[in-house]
C-alpha cells in the first residue's frame, strides 16, 4: 500500500500513502485488540473446584488465552518449577528469559501441546546445542 503510493513520486501520492499507512495501522490495532479481548480469560477458568491449576495438564492454547500478566507469571513459575523438579539450584537469568520467550513462540505454533511439553522441547533443543 505504501509502496504503490510512493512509487508515483508526487507529493500528493506520498501524502496519501502516509494516510493509507496510518489507516492500516489503526485497522490492524483495532483488529488485534478485538481478537485479544474476545479470547482472553482469567487463570481461574482452568482451575479445579478447589482452586488448583494442574501445571502438567495446562495447554499452550490455555496459556495463550490468559491475560499477559498471568502468562508472564506462569512463564516464570514454570521455569522455577522445572528447575526445582530437576533439583537444579542455579539460574541463568538471560537464558531463562530467552527460554520463556521460545516456549511462548512454540506454544503459538502448537496450541494443542501441553506447556510442560513445550518446556521439554526447549530444554532438549538447548541440550542438543540448538539455542
Amino acid at each position: 500500500m505504501v509502496g504503490s503510493s510512493t512509487s508515483h513520486g508526487g507529493a500528493l501520492s506520498r501524502a496519501l500513502g502516509r494516510v493509507d499507512f496510518r489507516v492500516a495501522l489503526v485497522v490492524a490495532a483495532v483488529v488485534a485488540s478485538a481478537s485479544a479481548a474476545s479470547a482472553q480469560v482469567e487463570l481461574k477458568t482452568y482451575m479445579d473446584e478447589k482452586g488448583y491449576l494442574n501445571v502438567r495438564a495446562l495447554t499452550c492454547a490455555q496459556l495463550a488465552n490468559t491475560y499477559q500478566e498471568d502468562a508472564d507469571f506462569l512463564g516464570a513459575w514454570y521455569s522455577g518449577w522445572w528447575n526445582g523438579h530437576l533439583k537444579r539450584h542455579s539460574i541463568n537469568v538471560a537464558r531463562t528469559k530467552q527460554g520463556i520467550h521460545e516456549v511462548i513462540v512454540y506454544c503459538k505454533a502448537n496450541p494443542d501441546a501441553k506447556v510442560v511439553d513445550a518446556v521439554d522441547a526447549y530444554v532438549k533443543k538447548v541440550q542438543a546445542g540448538g539455542q
Binding site: 491449576l53 522455577g80 541463568n92
Partner: protein
C-alpha cells in the same frame, strides 16, 4: 490482592531504587549462573523491579518443583510472593530461600495444611 501486592513491591523495591539498583547478573558467576541458594533479600531488593518480581515467582515454582508438586494455587502463590517481599524488607541479610521457607511454613500453619516433609 492485585492492587495491594504492587504497592508493597513498590515500597520495598522503591527504597532500593533510591540507592544503586544493579542487574541480576551482578550476582551471577562468570558463566551467568546465579546460585539461588545464596541470593539474599538485600540482593533481591537491590535489583530492578522487573527482575525482583520475576525471581520471586521463579522461587515459588522452584519450591513446588523441588517438592514434587504439580498443582499451583495461583492466589496462594501470589500471597506468598507478597509475604516474602515484606519479610525480605525487614530481614535484608536473610537468604531468599530461607524467607521462602519461613513464609511457606507460616502460611501452611495458618491454613491448617500439613505436608509430609514437616511431619
Amino acid at each position: 490482592m492485585k492492587l495491594v501486592m504492587p504497592f508493597f513491591a513498590m515500597t520495598l523495591f522503591g527504597a532500593g531504587a533510591a540507592q544503586a539498583q544493579v542487574d541480576l547478573t551482578t550476582y551471577a558467576d562468570a558463566k551467568g549462573n546465579l546460585d539461588i541458594q545464596k541470593l539474599t533479600c538485600a540482593q533481591l531488593a537491590n535489583t530492578f523491579q522487573e527482575d525482583a518480581d520475576f525471581m520471586t515467582v521463579w522461587y515459588s515454582g522452584w519450591y513446588n518443583g523441588l517438592a514434587g508438586y504439580s498443582k499451583l494455587k495461583v492466589d496462594r502463590a501470589k500471597e506468598l510472593e507478597h509475604r516474602v517481599i515484606v519479610y525480605c524488607k525487614a530481614n535484608p541479610q536473610t537468604k531468599v530461600i530461607t524467607a521462602m521457607d519461613i513464609n511457606i511454613k507460616q502460611m501452611r500453619k495458618e491454613l491448617g495444611i500439613k505436608v509430609n516433609d514437616e511431619q
